[in-house]
Amino acid sequence: MPSVSSPQDLPARPRPGVFSRLGHALRDPVLIEPAIIALGALIVAAAVFSLFLLVLGKSPATFFSLVWMGGFSSWFSIQNALQRAAPLILTGLAFAIPARIGLTLLGAEGALVLGGLTAATIALPLQHWSLPALVILPVMASAAILVGALWMGLAGWLKHARGVNETISSLLLTYIAIAIASFLIEGPFRDPASANKPSTQPLGPDLRIGEMFGSSVHWGLAAGLVLAFVLWFLMARTTFGFAARITGGNLRAAQGQGLAVGRLLLTCCAIAGGCAGLAGFFEVAAIHGQANASLAAGYGFTGILVAFLARQNPLAVVPVAVLFGALDAAGGLVQRRMEMPDATMLVLQGVIFLVLLVSDTCYGRLPFLNYTRSGDRT
């Protein structure tokens, strides 16, 4: 092969303007391919689910219009959707960040439950000493983050130090976390006043996190938005994120570069656990006011789906989480108006998940994208 330098490589090109850069981005398969495939997968999943509904003799049109009503149509339903999106952003991040370093870590549900429980129990003695809420709330949040980080860090440590498959270990840790939480909530930390539904003692009214700007959406959403941006910046624009992406993309190359792979893995797991723990804190401080079985509401698992659909991009996690928040919000409406069980949304989620994974096979094979444009395949 003759060695000639191609004309594009000449230096000193003028900096392109915003519009030409935008146009460039819209033709760049690296950027638009995931968007096209994810949207396509959603449409196909909706079609498959419509078929499911038709077989059952239900109307897909009614279903989707109810989803629209329940999730997007009014300020009330939008607030409802955003409210449910808040923990999903955090648990979505809890899956996406380890995924960037190559780990399939499913422990968000467990970290969320333990984080929530920690926040609820650590507040009680502090409340007792009548410390101000401005002191207690940060302590609660930090403790929840710390416990979550340790819990998911454990799966990362087992992976790094012992080579234990992190997917299975993190799922097992989730079951163990829920068992520990049930044990503590029904045992030592139980509020004797909680008769039917064992719970910890309720937080004082000053420890309940209020809503943002007169809406009914709590501050967890703001925390999620800020964290999504911060983590995007961390992964895309810092040396830490760069090293993590090398590790996730090719472990052997990372080792060959002498990167501290173990430390990177552990840090990513701990960040993930921190996000999930924080979600637990908001569930307790903004929604339930105490820790009980309602903490294990499946946000940790839905977060996996959110992250998959967002292709592990922290910024894309936000809109996807809002979408699933809206589906969740519309669930009750669908259940009542169409007389369908609450598991309907579970089925829909499963269908989306499956179609999404099948769509992975389309990468690099979309007929209308010019893949070779960005390289010379010889």
Partner: protein, 509 residues
């Protein structure tokens, strides 16, 4: 050797005008080869000359665009390896087709086109023992293939073809995984069988020594065309190599500046390592590489070289021993890599040294992303500077890519290697660890990459070259050590040793 009672019914095979076109490339152009019954024929050629394509056309992996295959003079149609097998044509591939978790016996029985649905092992074992008794060499039937040595596996592959009653054997560089003595043993036996008209052999090779010693006829391919052929016993090596390489002269030893006694830069002391199953793959390996020299490590593949490279790249833990750089203890961590200016060119760079789904620019920044000027305060990266740096490297090292933002997996193999070379060699290099740098690359790239390695040596770097290509080592190295079964011989100056001696050492003698 026991008298072999196989009936003498070797097959004759010929190809007539075979042409195979892949996209814009003519991989084979009007190729006619004649292999008479009972002959031991060599198919010679450089990497990419079309040897593999030709045998794959014969075996029915590919359909030829033109031309035909004649078996005992009559045209045959072969559309799949199964059909080739049914016609009596069998092939031993470079990569093994044995299943590691099965025993030799299980592998042989399952290779039969019609293995019984329920296998009566007592009966089968008796049959296999009888078959083995008739064969010139044997392999333990009850042993798991995973526990066989590379040479034994190769023998089992050949036995498998004979067991399936295949009388035309195609061997794809069968000796590349064997020690010279194992190779001689197997080739001698095959040649004997061919002489007795029991089988016909077509062997792909690029080792002139073997061709001279064992083959009767040979055909040379270059760029998809037949460039010559004849009687291997009378043709000279110079003639054969001219047919193979064309106008280019055979490579000489690279030009080098000689120096006085070099200062030791990289030292390995009693290094040991194990594989995943706990088997020791490197045993008490010690070596010293001095500044301004190339230490070549030769050896048949699979004797611990891969593990050695992995130890040096931090991909495999040491179970004993230590590494020194400039006389100080060294671990392959980033801080030490930077302090002692240690760089590496691993084999298969796309798999070992790049992230396929990151851009060319990002891949070229692996060594420098955490340092100024690419990283600013608080470890914040500058994508613009990453891109600017790569633009400069792309120009200097002639990496052919449409843009620094292209994913590196879209580049050709030679360009990936050049991109890695640019990343690893653009700064000051004190220690360079190179493993099979020219695997599967075209002629021009090979010359360029070897020149770069020599350039680093001449600028004072200590170069450790681990290669399975003995010619490459003889061309580049100042001193040579041989690796065999995880152990390393003491290093010898190239001038004081010979190919024969190295070959003997590769066999562990």
């Amino acid at each position: 050797m026991s008298q072999s009672p196989l009936p003498p019914r070797a097959l004759a095979l010929a190809t007539r005008g075979i042409t195979k076109i892949f996209g814009p490339m003519r991989a084979l152009d009007d190729v006619s080869v004649e292999v008479p019954a009972g002959s031991f024929h060599a198919l010679l050629g450089e990497n990419g000359a079309g040897k593999s394509t030709l045998v794959k056309c014969i075996m029915g992996f590919y359909g030829a665009d033109e031309g035909q295959v004649l078996l005992d003079g009559a045209p045959v149609r072969i559309d799949s390896p199964r059909q080739a097998q049914a016609q009596g044509i069998g092939m031993v591939y470079q990569h093994f087709t044995l299943v590691p978790c099965l025993t030799a016996a299980e592998n042989l029985v399952m290779a039969r086109a019609a293995a019984p649905a329920v296998i009566n092992w007592r009966q089968e074992t008796r049959g296999l023992e009888e078959f083995m008794d008739r064969m010139p060499f044997r392999v333990r039937l009850d042993k798991q293939v995973a526990d066989l040595s590379a040479g034994e596996k190769q023998k089992l592959e050949i036995l498998k073809l004979l067991y399936l009653d295949q009388r035309f054997l195609i061997l794809d560089e069968p000796t590349s995984v064997m020690t010279p003595s194992e190779a001689d043993e197997v080739l001698t036996l095959l040649r004997g069988m061919a002489e007795r008209q029991e089988i016909t052999v077509l062997m792909i090779s690029h080792k002139f020594r073997e061709v001279k010693a064992f083959c009767d006829g040979f055909t040379v391919l270059r760029r998809g065309r037949v460039t010559g052929g004849g009687d291997a016993r009378t043709a000279s090596v110079t003639e054969m190599s001219r047919m193979m390489i064309g106008e280019t002269e055979l490579r000489e030893r690279a030009a080098r500046e000689s120096r006085g006694l070099p200062r030791p830069r990289l030292v390995l002391e009693q290094v040991c390592a194990e594989d995943e199953t706990g088997r020791q793959v490197i045993e008490n390996l010690s070596l010293t590489v001095g500044a301004g020299e190339v230490l070549g490590i030769a050896g048949v593949s699979g004797n611990g070289q891969a593990a050695l490279v992995e130890v040096l790249a931090g991909q495999r833990p040491m179970s004993g021993g230590r590494l020194l750089a400039d006389g100080a203890p060294f671990t392959p961590r980033r801080a030490d890599l930077d302090r002692y200016k240690v760089f590496g060119l691993p084999e298969e760079p796309l798999r070992n040294a790049t992230v396929p789904r990151m851009t060319v620019a990002e891949n070229m920044a692996f060594r420098s992303f955490d340092k100024r000027p690419l990283a600013g305060r608080f470890g914040i990266l500058s994508p613009a500077r990453i891109r600017a740096q790569s633009r400069d490297l792309i120009r200097r090292y002639n990496v052919r890519t449409s843009s620094p933002d292209a994913l590196i997996e879209t580049l050709s193999g030679g360009n990936v290697q050049r991109a890695v070379l640019a990343r690893e060699l653009s700064g000051n290099v004190d220690v360079l660890i190179v493993a099979n740098p020219c695997f599967g690359l075209d002629f021009a790239s090979v010359a360029e990459i070897r020149a770069q390695i020599m350039d680093q040596r001449n600028r004072g770097a200590a170069v450790l070259l681990i290669s399975e290509d003995l010619d490459e080592i003889l061309e580049l190295a100042d001193r040579i050590a041989v690796m065999s079964e995880g152990r390393l011989t003491p290093a010898m100056a190239v001038e004081t040793t010979s190919r024969a001696e190295i070959g003997r050492l590769m066999g562990g003698h």
